[in-house]
Point group: C2
Chain length 245, copies 2
């Protein structure tokens, strides 16, 4: 038995998310099916981030224990031949016995893309949140910087998700502006359900002038979900990478 680490890219548009479900195309389900065909028997796959329906990945990481003797490159080729074209295995690495993609992750990096322009290109529809109205970038940048550090993110957790410990440490929270594209990069040791999208929804309210950048600080001390802004749409979000020790 060996443990493998898979790095994956996927377009979430037509996926129900990472997690296997009774109905619909999940990354976990499709990957387990492909691996089972290579292995000749059932294989369980664990993912570092349980991305929601519509969320994309540039560097999701998954772990699995397999018996098959294929080298890493052959395994990657075989899986890509079996997987649909919206999911690609970028690489396969040998991992230490017992490696677990989620439990062993030290931090994760997400990206959120906003197109702030009157017209959205048909070619980026599936990967940006299109906001045609005016957005002030400088207040958004200032509010995003306040997210860095250790805070209680209760106000940015989707209601009913029931996680008790809502403190997280964010090592990077940065808005960049490139042309009409606003890109938000966030890295941290853990993320609550819908946390990045709730942060983005709130930062956009700052950009629209409906909240002050400073108001962000009060939200980061365990405020309630109703105090923060709406959840931004899933299709602007990417799981960029997962960092391990």
């Amino acid at each position: 038995m060996r443990t493998i680490k898979l790095t994956l890219e996927y377009d979430g548009t037509h996926l129900v998310g990472w997690q296997r479900q009774a109905e619909g195309r999940s990354v976990q389900g499709l990957l387990e099916e492909a691996l089972a065909r290579v292995e000749g028997g059932p294989v369980a796959v664990e993912g570092a981030g349980r991305t929601d329906a519509g969320v994309h990945a540039l560097g999701q990481v998954a772990s699995a224990r397999v018996e098959c003797g294929h080298d890493a490159a052959t395994l990657a080729r075989a899986l890509n031949a079996l997987l649909p074209s919206d999911i690609r295995v970028i690489r396969v690495d040998e991992a230490a016995v017992g490696f677990h993609a989620r439990f062993d992750a030290r931090s994760k990096t997400y990206r959120y893309q906003i197109r702030n322009a009157p017209v959205a290109s048909p070619f980026e529809r599936a990967v940006v949140w299109h906001i045609p109205g005016p957005l002030s970038f400088e207040p958004m940048r200032a509010a995003a910087a306040l997210v860095q550090g250790t805070h209680d993110f209760r106000a940015f957790q989707s209601t009913g998700s029931g996680v008790m410990r809502t403190e997280r440490t964010i090592s990077r929270s940065e808005f960049r502006h490139t042309g009409g594209l606003l890109v938000y990069d966030i890295s941290g040791n853990g993320f609550l359900r819908h946390m990045v999208r709730a942060l983005v929804g709130t930062l956009v309210e700052v950009g629209r002038g409906r909240r002050s950048p400073e108001s962000m600080a009060a939200l980061l001390t365990g405020a309630s979900r109703a105090d923060a802004g709406p959840t931004a749409p899933a299709h602007g979000l990417f799981l960029v990478s997962v960092e391990y020790y």
Copy 2:
């Protein structure tokens, strides 16, 4: 009555092409429907390039005669509100009376994208031809350069299209290499049916070492379709722009 010039961007993935057809989503059909709603009566739209099913556009140009009094910006906004998100009106301009998008076009520029890498990103599936095997760039570049000038392109016209005069003048024919992406740019005063895709299919055979770059010259003197390479897939092709006097 006024004549307007519309510049359009579209993702051809789920379109049957420019031309209105009995069945399916055509750009012409959807644009005529949207314009008819703004105008309050039927409107005929002419396109500069009759792109095939699956072919994309970054700068298709269309002309129409309308009576409505909306200014250009209002008209663009109204049309974008009525059109599906895979078709966008980038701009509307007032044109001289009698302007015709196709007959008045001086030249058109197309682009073809090839991803030459073991794995194709899920995010570019719909806009590149993925070729995993080895391709030699330098012979492709040399062969592409031979296309520039005035030639008989009969060998690159889809069989049965029945156009008698097959001489065309190409002002630019260039392969660029950026990372793993091969980009072919071609401008000319006119294009036969499937001509760009047949050129690309032939240039790829050069890249695969199945033809010499020099063999391109013989094909450009009115050879038969069977002498040239296969037609490259539609989804790598973009109509980039249309130039007028």
